[in-house]
Symmetry: C2
Subunit: 303 residues, 2 copies
């Protein structure tokens, strides 16, 4: 049993706290203000309801046991439901960072995806951070090296990126920054396993980690085929699914990602000169802007 | 029942001929020389054995009915086996192009992937080509516009790209060139359906069609992560499979594609200046060259 503190009670912070408590860790969520407590409550309720729905489904159909709940022992749905209810009740909430950091084995920074908020948190944590504590950031879009100097001990600081619905989509991408020690990296991998996650290891920093580093050029190539009027989203998706056996085509994935997010990712590339750009980023932006303005998705007027 | 001629008796030519004969078309393979007949025989035997093995498997397990054999009627394995045996016997072979082209509804050019061989074929075909004939090229790496002027009637000339094992991987990519008529395009789509294929439509020329246009940047991104020492092929594959639900990761796909083919594709990009290249093509080439020289694949010393 470890003491684990999650900084931030957002969509992922609440899910990470839940999986820690479910796996027997002494789990605390640190929040910045009273207001944050109120904002967290509906997120925690959503985690409860989503987990319970998945466990009830697994009770009826054992093929549906969420990956994060699988262990070497046979799955017992009733026991899992009881454990999940208890776990959600066992999560502690505090506004006191000194208390949250005291004796912590692991602290996971899951504050808002704003560099100033992250730096403010690390500065506040620094005087309270103990030598033994492993400090992890869940940032999806920023590199840990950008924050290492604010943490106090860069050798025990690295990234651990969770997917949404972590109890079933239990891939975590563990990424070191140049100053991370091998020991801290290995500890992070073992810790990920201990809370039901299935980690992959990035031994160098890479924006987008592994999954998005592959998804982004793939989704760009697909959108390029559409905006240059080669083929329809339906036929492009069909070619991908039939050709590779994948369950979803690129435009189905784009609808799940959300067009505003797709638009923001594409926007990073829009100033690459046309002569050297591998894809028609400007045309893609134009297409996405038009669809967003009209409230459209690729497979339906509104989601 | 259509008269269909396939020019070329290679790996795909034989499969295309088989699916035409299986679906009741009067099917002829045209070959350039006596020597070509001898070279074709083992390929035709391979088609026979592979199709029969798949049909025997489908007889035991109806979930395994190859996609190209599915119709609106319930699948009858014994009937399909008999039909397949008859189809293979019904395929005619000729060295006489005038005879092969006479009264043909469809001619599919599946000669070797060498532009000179293709031009030579089109020049020889031209005086024999009838007005009604739809002329299709199965070229995977060349654009039909490069050959349109040699065909006699560019308005009835376009590309139809088959995948390997066409009786089960029945995706075909149908691609027009600038002079293709809408009528010819629509005929090609209907013809594809009539021989058990499931077509996608490309209304503009695009090197790589739809599938390879997406696969190539995706496979490059994956190889880039490996050659820059971010992660292992195993972890990169795991991230892709867990993150997207795909049955195979990029390095598993590269082993199927074959490293020499992957190397040739990458080689096209190797002279893009480093400052603007989206991936480390030179490092990728070095890695593939080393593995090819050692007879290695990503998942085993030798396949």
């Amino acid at each position: 049993m470890k003491k684990v503190t999650i900084a931030g009670g957002g969509v992922l912070g609440t899910q990470i706290a839940f999986m820690n408590a479910y796996n027997g860790n002494d789990t605390t969520i640190w929040l910045r203000s009273e207001g944050s407590i109120g904002r967290m409550e509906p997120k925690m309720k959503w985690v409860h309801d989503a987990v319970m729905a998945d466990l009830e489904a697994a009770k009826k159909n054992p093929a549906l046991v969420p990956a994060g709940f699988k262990t070497d022992e046979p799955f017992d749905a009733d026991q899992a439901i009881q454990k999940a209810e208890e776990a959600l009740k066992a999560i502690k909430i505090t506004l006191d960072l000194a208390e949250a950091a005291k004796d912590a084995d692991v602290i996971i920074e899951a504050v808002s995806e704003d560099p100033q908020d992250k730096i403010e948190f690390y500065n506040k944590l620094k005087p309270n951070l103990e030598e033994k504590t492993l400090l992890l950031t869940n940032s999806s879009s920023m590199l840990p090296s950008a924050f290492a100097k604010y943490t106090g001990d860069p050798s025990r600081y690295l990234a651990m990126h969770f997917a949404n619905h972590i109890w079933k989509e239990n891939l975590v991408e563990i990424m070191s920054q140049p100053e991370t020690s091998k020991e801290a990296f290995d500890e992070a991998v073992a810790y990920a396993h201990s809370i039901g996650m299935d980690p992959v290891e990035l031994h160098k920093e890479k924006a987008g980690y592994l999954l998005n580093s592959m998804l982004i050029p793939f989704l760009m190539a697909a959108q390029d085929l559409y905006v240059t009027e080669v083929a329809s989203p339906e036929d492009i998706d069909k070619a991908w699914k039939k050709g590779t056996g994948a369950p979803r085509g690129p435009f189905e994935i784009l609808d799940i990602v959300g067009l505003p997010t797709a638009r923001n990712i594409n926007h990073q590339f829009v100033n690459i000169p046309d002569e050297v750009a591998p894809f028609h980023y400007k045309l893609i932006e134009k297409q996405l802007d038009k669809m967003i303005a009209n409230g459209e998705t690729f497979y339906g007027k509104k989601k």
